[in-house]
């Protein structure tokens, strides 16, 4: 064994792809597929040219196959051809932040380069069905996901959820499987922060709530729930149909500006918002943290509803690699 091999992490499974990374990614399971399968994605450390970016985290697309992800507190990531990542990491960057970039904006960009649409969601598997919780920052995705995790359900994505349509079903490809939670949410849920890895620091701290059992399989996406805060004492979980369904899916699309840019470059695959087999709902929620347990129960009941597509086991798909 060479020194380089000894230092390398085991390959990971990311959305069914074999992912070889020079950066440790605790949120991903190890590759458990064919040991002879060559890596589908490789991340190497290297130098990445500076590109102007005003946002704390931005994706600068320079072509259908080339983009740079810029993160003020992590570094720059050149993403090309949907398979190669060069990471130019700040020497003092928090490892958790670097990892979050790799399985967040970098994954989202890489998926678009492959012609794969992603949602921005915390995605939980309940009774064999994936339920994507989506909404703007602060809508309560992570907190609701944490409650559902606490009830024994499985997290398959904490940020970017790439989708694939197979035989008229929409499959959710498992990405980052450690839930990131704000420090104050952990306090409210009564979880001890000591010993948890930090996912972000600064004015508001974020921590990883690790998932013990990680999955490498795609799961059928049965529901997308768009969370919205409203001036209400109650919560309302309502089905979205027609234009409202399409609009909710569009709003849940990962970094809509990227979807628009790739659409303009002629990437027709990512313009398909049909999501067959997926029931779409709005969840209007009161401000504050009242009725969270009840909302989690409503989501569980929704997933247990016989009208949603039922699958007890994950769907095996061999054609995920490309």
């Amino acid at each position: 064994m060479t020194a380089t091999e000894a230092l390398r992490h085991p390959d990971y499974s990311l959305c069914g792809w074999r992912f070889r990374s020079e950066i440790r990614i605790a949120a991903l399971p190890e590759w458990d597929g064919d040991p002879d399968h060559l890596p589908d994605i490789e991340l190497v450390r290297g130098s990445v040219e500076e590109v102007p970016c005003v946002d704390p985290v931005g994706v600068i697309v320079t072509g259908r196959r080339e983009a740079t992800v810029v993160a003020a507190d992590a570094g720059r990531f050149a993403v090309s051809d949907g398979r190669r990542i060069v990471a130019d990491v700040h020497p003092d960057a928090l490892p958790g932040v670097v990892e979050t970039m790799a399985v967040g904006p970098v994954l989202g960009t890489l998926a678009y380069q492959r012609g794969i649409l992603s949602l921005h969601s915390n995605t939980i598997v309940i009774d064999g069905k994936a339920v994507a919780l989506s909404g703007r920052s602060g809508a309560g995705k992570s907190t609701l996901a944490a409650i559902l995790l606490g009830r024994g359900h499985r997290l398959i994505s904490d940020d970017v959820l790439p989708l694939r349509e197979v035989n008229g079903r929409t499959l959710a490809l498992p990405g980052s499987q450690n839930l990131r939670l704000w420090g104050e949410s952990l306090d409210l849920l009564g979880v001890d922060k000591r010993g948890l890895r930090r996912a972000a620091d600064g004015a508001r701290e974020k921590y990883f709530l690790p998932t013990v059992e990680k999955t490498t399989q795609p799961w059928p996406l049965a529901a997308l729930i768009w969370l919205e805060r409203a001036e209400t004492d109650r919560y309302f979980l309502r089905p979205s149909q027609g234009i409202f369904r399409t609009r909710a899916i569009y709003k849940a699309t990962y970094r809509q500006h990227l979807a628009r840019e790739f659409a303009a470059m002629g990437s027709r695959e990512i313009t398909n918002l049909s999501l067959p087999g997926v029931a779409v709902f709005d969840l209007l929620r009161p401000r504050g943290l009242d009725l969270l347990e009840e909302q989690a129960t409503a989501i569980e009941n929704l997933a247990l509803n016989d009208d949603l597509p039922t699958i007890a086991e994950p769907v095996q798909v061999r054609s995920v690699h490309r």
């Binding site: 149909q241 027609g242 234009i243 369904r245 399409t246 609009r247 899916i249 569009y250 979807a259 628009r260 659409a263 303009a264 470059m265 002629g266 027709r268 313009t271 398909n272 918002l273 049909s274 999501l275 067959p276």
Partner: protein, 98 residues
């Protein structure tokens, strides 16, 4: 103004989809969202037949001839409706007109 000219579809124009929409097919109907106009549209069956025919650039008079033949209708009857529909698509940046 360029915008007005863009909406001026003629029988001799060549039209094609403009890579400026998202589409959702669900429960037997479809919804088109124009990205730059930020509007949602749904068409009837014939509307989608025309929309799908614009995947490749096509001259409007050829498109009308194909539709007329397929639906056993007169080109003179079909042309005004098709022009009206294409102009609406053009106004909402859904098609390129050359």
């Amino acid at each position: 103004m360029a915008e007005e000219q863009g909406g001026d579809v003629q029988p001799t124009s060549t039209v094609s989809l403009a890579n400026n929409h998202f589409r959702a097919d669900h429960d037997g109907s479809a919804i088109i969202m124009s990205i730059s106009a930020g509007k949602f549209f749904s068409f009837d069956e014939i509307g989608f037949e025309i929309f799908d025919a614009l995947e490749q650039p096509v001259r409007v008079d050829q498109l009308v001839a194909d539709l007329a033949a397929k639906h056993s209708a007169s080109k003179d009857v079909v042309m005004p409706d098709v022009l009206k529909f294409l102009n609406k698509l053009s106004e909402n940046d859904l098609i390129r007109v050359e």
